[in-house]
Assembly symmetry: C2
Homo-oligomer: 536 residues x 2
């Protein structure tokens, strides 16, 4: 079928004399997705999805990437969306398969990543029976989706697929879940569809709010501009002009879906994870201007500690949340304070020397920053090692930095898959804590199968170090032996070199900075995936 | 605190002069669970669960077992419940952690396994903020739980814990999910509680239904007794008496949570997975007596194939479903047909010879049956290798056999953990397909940490073989290269020996029957966990 037969929103080919224009519902869906701009599908299919799998070969434009666990699939779609700004599809097997994907759907939802989940279901006439795999799929989907629909007939499928894509693109990006009963996939239909451009309402930043914030910035009193959403290069540069003109400090949210960092970019601090440190960053602020976010709170609550982070008495200016016109608001504010001609600060390229001696997170950051190619993508799930290695990365070349937006660990290996599929010409550095990595280690296999250019660094401290901190911070204190055993990954030690090799990936262990330097240089010299287990 | 201070349903210690009787909500919950008979907790905690973790050390009777992924935790609790008939607790981290556990909760729900999930949540006063880990936990829990509650204050916690246990024990076994906001865990309370024995309604089997079924059995016409639920030794023996007296065939459901098999037990066929084979088993049946189940349907629907398996025109006698008094119904039926004095058929001990030559599923079954100790527990997630190896197991000694009740793959490694914790004196044989094993391979680490006596056999065919069958059976036919790549686990081949060793487990590969014999004998000779990758 040619491109031009389905350019309208909902084309009925039933009058056509050519019976070949009748497709299965699954074929119609694949075409609908491709024609709507969704041409990558991360998949972990089962029997109820076999017609969709069969349909993949009917459209050469759809790329399909297999994951051996559904958390790999949804995390990959998140990483892809963060880099490309358009959705990938996922293919998941009924309620339990979707369940396995929920944790990374949660992260994607918090990131504002567009995504289109296709979830197989029993045939419509089979749902009445309590077959073993029967479950309430709509119920499973709803908590982590913005939009959920179930097809009733094959005629629905293409149009609902297009609607799923449209809804995924609602700013800043949404999770659409389309449930596809098997008979709606295998029955034939003349109905094709393609997603329209969903009209984006021009969000005019509220002039009064901008004026109020501008007056605060001009007051000479301590101001913080708190910036949520994607920390893109142009967005942060505008914020940097405002800072240069007014002396305000700019703080990005801890969990930016993507931040453009490194040489040439505008420096911006992210809010610290621990509330005490975050409170220090914000201490003294008298005017808190919030754009693309809601005012900051701690990640968790703790007994007898504040969870609301804006200093008492500070005036808050909420300009827009993450679904608003963040760039429009920043531009308006920049104009209002007369900052358009100001040059923002800029990170300079100052690659650190190669480290030697003990292998610490700081040394790892220095080695990476010394060796990494320009324009790498850093997927960060480094846990408690993060502060140290990011300090070591000062002076690094330009790179994109992806964070754990929803706090659900096990996103790093999968998101690296998605980022590498999205950007095949860029090196991906997957900076991975060992405990978190274990949730979705199956993603290493997909990296090998697809030949993705990813270097994974495992920060192997062999414990849930964050929980050892948090145990004390929540006021539990002095863990007993049973509690300690819940926070400890030793006994037995995990051997990431063997696990990676078991999935076909070259891997090596580094125990000193010098060993790490050599391993990292070798990994970067060779395209394709490899893993370094860094014993820290 | 002594046992006798909390023997009533809800004891208030606030009048006590001893302030030590005030516990944190988390401590009260641990005591409530232990005193209600729940003394094992499979856990994958996070910050919001740290007070529960701290409380573990306040009660020496609570054993806590760490899993590195939540699907391991819920699958282990399922295996434990199937062997013990009482619930284990799970400890899970907010909505995403619960999400990761849903697939094995689904299997447990279908198995009728009692389980008590404790899910941490943000402090009650923190939920108003859209913190990164905020989600609708009740929404995530509901599809796979029979009972869901959220604590409001520390005073609720012990009573709700007891209520969770009570509800988990509703026949045949239910999933209870208790959500524990962090402040309800860290605040103190005088309130203790212990689960009562939930009054079981004496389900009197309907006399008319029993009479009708008895008349059918006495008619001399072909009868099938279709038996759901747990296929316990006594239950199947009663069914066997009925068969001996009347000539009826007994068919168990494909997905029995547990079947007592092997020498000395009453033989019973389970319904075949593929509808065509199941239809053959039931062909000619004129009276279908259904106890502990609903009438059988196919696992999936297929185009132009029947999904309802009872032969057309057969009369159906639905005596009770899986929540009914299955034993009472069987006893009444046995009496009504005068079968009480009949001896049921019995499997004889006839261990097969050790195989040699090619390593096939049949050969694996023969080697296992030759070598396995009496009273082993076989956890079966062998996929397409199952028919062959189970044929080889004919003549095996007595053993318990656990099946994949809900069709959600990734239950075998975790359920083996739970079965081994439940029955430390019995050898567990974990018969595991490679594709399914990858969903929850992290469970191997827990097997090592706990020193569990489990031999895992990986059936390594390096493909999703079931999907290669099903692709054709759903009428898709002739998969193209993209479709084939979704059904294939090669490129790269998984190396289970390396992956297991990476988690500290002794492992070996077998490529011939003779190699397998040696490996299996060695594994069985040595207590503790080990793995054999069988290339079939």
């Amino acid at each position: 079928m040619s491109e031009d037969t389905h350019m309208s929103d909902d084309t009925d080919l039933s009058d056509s004399t050519d019976s070949a224009t009748f497709m299965t519902g699954a074929q119609a869906l694949v075409h609908s997705l491709v024609d709507s701009g969704v041409d990558v599908c991360f998949a972990n299919p089962g029997t109820s999805e076999m017609h969709f799998v069969a349909a993949l070969d009917t459209n050469p434009k759809m790329r399909c990437v297999l994951g051996l666990f559904e958390g790999v699939v949804t995390g990959a779609a998140d990483g892809y969306a963060r880099m490309r700004g358009v959705p990938a599809a996922t293919l998941l097997h009924l309620g339990p398969g979707l369940g396995n994907g929920l944790a990374n759907l949660h992260n994607a939802k918090k990131a504002g990543s567009p995504m289109v989940n296709i979830v197989g279901e029993h045939a419509t006439y089979h749902r009445q029976y309590d077959a073993p795999l029967s479950s309430d799929i709509v119920g499973v989907a709803t908590p982590m989706s913005h939009w959920v629909r179930m097809c009733d007939t094959a005629d629905d499928v293409a149009a609902m697929g297009a609607e799923a894509v449209e809804n995924s693109m609602v700013a800043p990006g949404q999770i659409s879940t389309l449930i596809l009963p098997a008979d709606t996939a295998w029955n034939t239909t003349p109905k094709m569809a393609v997603a329209g451009n969903r009209p984006t309402e021009p969000v005019v930043p509220d002039a009064d709010a901008i004026d109020g914030a501008a007056r605060a910035l001009a007051s000479g009193q301590p101001c913080t501009l708190y910036l949520g959403g994607r920390l893109s290069e142009s967005r942060v540069r505008t914020a940097g002009r405002i800072a240069a003109a007014t002396g305000a400090q700019i703080i990005g949210s801890t969990w930016a879906p993507i931040q453009e960092m490194g040489a040439g970019r505008t420096p911006i601090r992210r809010l610290a994870y621990f509330g005490e440190q975050a409170a220090e960053q914000l201490d003294g602020t008298e005017h808190m201007i919030v754009i693309g976010a809601t005012p900051p709170v701690t990640f968790f609550a703790y007994p007898d500690k504040p969870n609301w982070l804006t200093p008492d008495g500070a005036e808050i200016y909420e300009i827009c949340d993450k679904s608003g016109d963040i760039d429009g608001a920043l531009d308006a504010l920049c104009d209002a304070v007369g900052a358009s001609g100001h040059e923002p600060a800029q990170w300079e390229l100052a690659r650190p020397e190669l480290p030697s001696g003990d292998l610490t997170p700081l040394a790892i950051g220095q080695a990476v920053a010394h060796l990494m190619p320009d324009d790498s993508i850093v997927v960060n799930e480094s846990g408690t090692a993060g502060a140290g290695y990011q300090m070591g990365m000062r002076g690094a070349p330009a790179h994109s930095f992806l964070a754990l937006t929803g706090g659900s660990i096990g996103y790093g290996i999968p998101a690296s898959v998605g980022a590498a599929v999205a950007c095949p010409d860029r090196k991906v550095l997957s900076m991975q804590a060992d405990g978190a990595g274990m949730y979705t280690l199956q993603g290493l296999w997909t990296q090998v199968r697809e030949g993705l250019d990813i270097t994974t660094v495992i920060f192997a401290n062999r414990k849930y170090a964050i929980l050892q901190y948090e145990f004390d911070r929540v006021g539990a204190h002095n863990p007993g032996p049973k509690a300690m055993s819940m926070l400890d990954l030793g006994n037995p030690d995990l051997d990431w070199v063997l696990m990676a090799k078991g999935m076909g990936m070259p891997a090596i262990r580094a125990t000193t900075a010098d060993e790490f330097n050599v391993a990292m240089a070798a990994s970067l010299a060779e395209p394709g995936p490899s893993l370094i287990e860094a014993l820290i």
